[in-house]
Point group: C2
Chain length 237, copies 2
C-alpha cells in the first residue's frame, strides 16, 4: 500500500521488457508478443512501451539480436568444454549444441531462422546485423582453426564455377579471413547442411516421415566430418 510511491518510482527497463516479450513468445507463440500483452504482463499500458522502443518492430528486432547473442554465447561455452586440440570434438559439439538449442527453443529459433519477420530487415538494422555477424564468426573461427591446424583437400580456384568463385572471394574479403576459396566453399556447404537440416526439423517439416530425426542428424555429421578431415564419433550417452 505504502509502496505505491515506490512503484511509481520504479521505471521499467529495456531488459525487463525484452524478457517479458520472450516469455510470451515461448509460452504462447509469436503472435502473442503484442505490445498490449507485454505491457499487461508488466502492469502497465501499451503506450508506455513507446518510451523504450520506437515501434513494435523495433522491440522484436531487439529481441532477435538478444537471441542471437544468447545462442552465440551458448555455442562459445560448449566449445570450452572440449579439449583445445580436439578438433573433431569442437566441430561435433558446436553442431550438436546448435541443434540442441534450436530444439529447446523452437519459437526463438523460428524467429531467428524461419520466415523473415516482415519489416524486420536484419541487414538494415545495425544492432541485429552485428549480432548476426558475431554469431557467424563462431563458425568461421572454428572453421579457420580446423583448416589451419589440419588442412583438408579442397577444390582449387580453377575448379570452382566463376560466378561462385567471385561470390566466395567477396565473402572471404568481407570476413577478412585468409582461406582458399575452396575452403570457403566447404564452409558454406557445411553450414547449409547443418542449418538446413535443423531448420527442417524444428519447423516441423520432417514430421511427414520421422518423429525423431536425431539419428539422421548424426548420419549427416558422420558424412560431414570426413570432408573436414575429422573423425566422427557418436555423442556420449
Amino acid at each position: 500500500m505504502a509502496e505505491t510511491r515506490r512503484d511509481r518510482l520504479r521505471a521499467a527497463t529495456v531488459e525487463e521488457i525484452i524478457r517479458t516479450a520472450r516469455r510470451l513468445l515461448v509460452e504462447q507463440g509469436q503472435d502473442a508478443v503484442t505490445l498490449r500483452a507485454i505491457a499487461r504482463e508488466m502492469g502497465m499500458t501499451a503506450p508506455a512501451l513507446y518510451r523504450y522502443f520506437d515501434s513494435h518492430q523495433e522491440l522484436l528486432t531487439r529481441l532477435v539480436g538478444d537471441l542471437f547473442n544468447e545462442l552465440t554465447d551458448v555455442l562459445g561455452e560448449a566449445l570450452c568444454t572440449v579439449s583445445p586440440d580436439d578438433l573433431a570434438g569442437k566441430f561435433l559439439v558446436v553442431a550438436r549444441e546448435f541443434r540442441r538449442w534450436a530444439l529447446a527453443h523452437e519459437r526463438e529459433y523460428a524467429l531467428l531462422f524461419g520466415n523473415p519477420v516482415p519489416g524486420l530487415d536484419i541487414d538494415r538494422d545495425d544492432f541485429v546485423a552485428e549480432c548476426g555477424r558475431r554469431f557467424g564468426r563462431v563458425f568461421m573461427t572454428l572453421f579457420l582453426e580446423l583448416w589451419s591446424k589440419s588442412p583438408f583437400p579442397v577444390r582449387s580456384d580453377e575448379e570452382i564455377d566463376p560466378s561462385l568463385r567471385r561470390q566466395l572471394a567477396r565473402y572471404r574479403d568481407a570476413m577478412s579471413v585468409s582461406l582458399p576459396l575452396g575452403a570457403i566453399l566447404v564452409f558454406i556447404q557445411c553450414w547449409v547442411r547443418l542449418q538446413g537440416s535443423v531448420s527442417l526439423e524444428v519447423l516441423g517439416h520432417l514430421g511427414f516421415a520421422l518423429d525423431d530425426p536425431a539419428p539422421l542428424f548424426e548420419l549427416m555429421l558422420a558424412d560431414l566430418a570426413p570432408q573436414l578431415g575429422l573423425r566422427y564419433s557418436p555423442p556420449e550417452r
Copy 2:
C-alpha cells in the same frame, strides 16, 4: 447501372476468393491476406466471406492446399518434358523445377515450407494433408522408379541405427512402397538436402555470403546424383 441486378446475382466463388487471397499474398505479403482486404478487393464486405469459409484460418488452409497442388502439377509437367528413360534427367529436372518454383513464388513457398502457420496444423486438416501427401508422392514415385530401374548401393538394415530403422520402416509402410530401408534413408537424406538448401535460399538465410546460390545448388545436385547412381549434367542454356 442496370447491371446492379446482374451483379447482385453473381455470387462469389471459392476459387475467386482464393485467387484474390493469393494475389494479396504475392503483392503485399502474408500479413496483407486479411478477410477485410480480400473482401475489399472483391467489392464485398468481410463477413460475406463467412458464407464460404468458417474462419480466416480455414481460408488460409485452403490456399495452402491449392498451392501444394499447383506445385505438384508443375513438377509433374516438368517430368513430362524428359524422355521416359532418362532417369538422371528426371531427377535433375524435378530438383531444379522445385527450386525454380520456390524462387518464382517466394511468399507462397514460405507459406508452405517456412514457419508453421499458427493454428494451421497441416496434418490435422484432411484437405491439406492429402495435398501434402500428393506432393510427397511425386518425389517418392520418381525415387521408386530410379531404384527399380537401376538400383544403387544402400546401407543394409543392420547398418542402420535401430531407432532410425524403426522410423524408416514405419514411413515405408505408411507410403506402401517396397524399398529397402537403406533406400528410404537415401530418399529422406536427398529430400532434406534439397528442401533444406532451397528453404535457406528462399527465406533469405544465404544472403550473408551469396547473392546467387544457383552454382551452389548445382554443386549439391552434382554431389547427390552419384549417390543415386545417376550422372550429373549441368542445366541447359
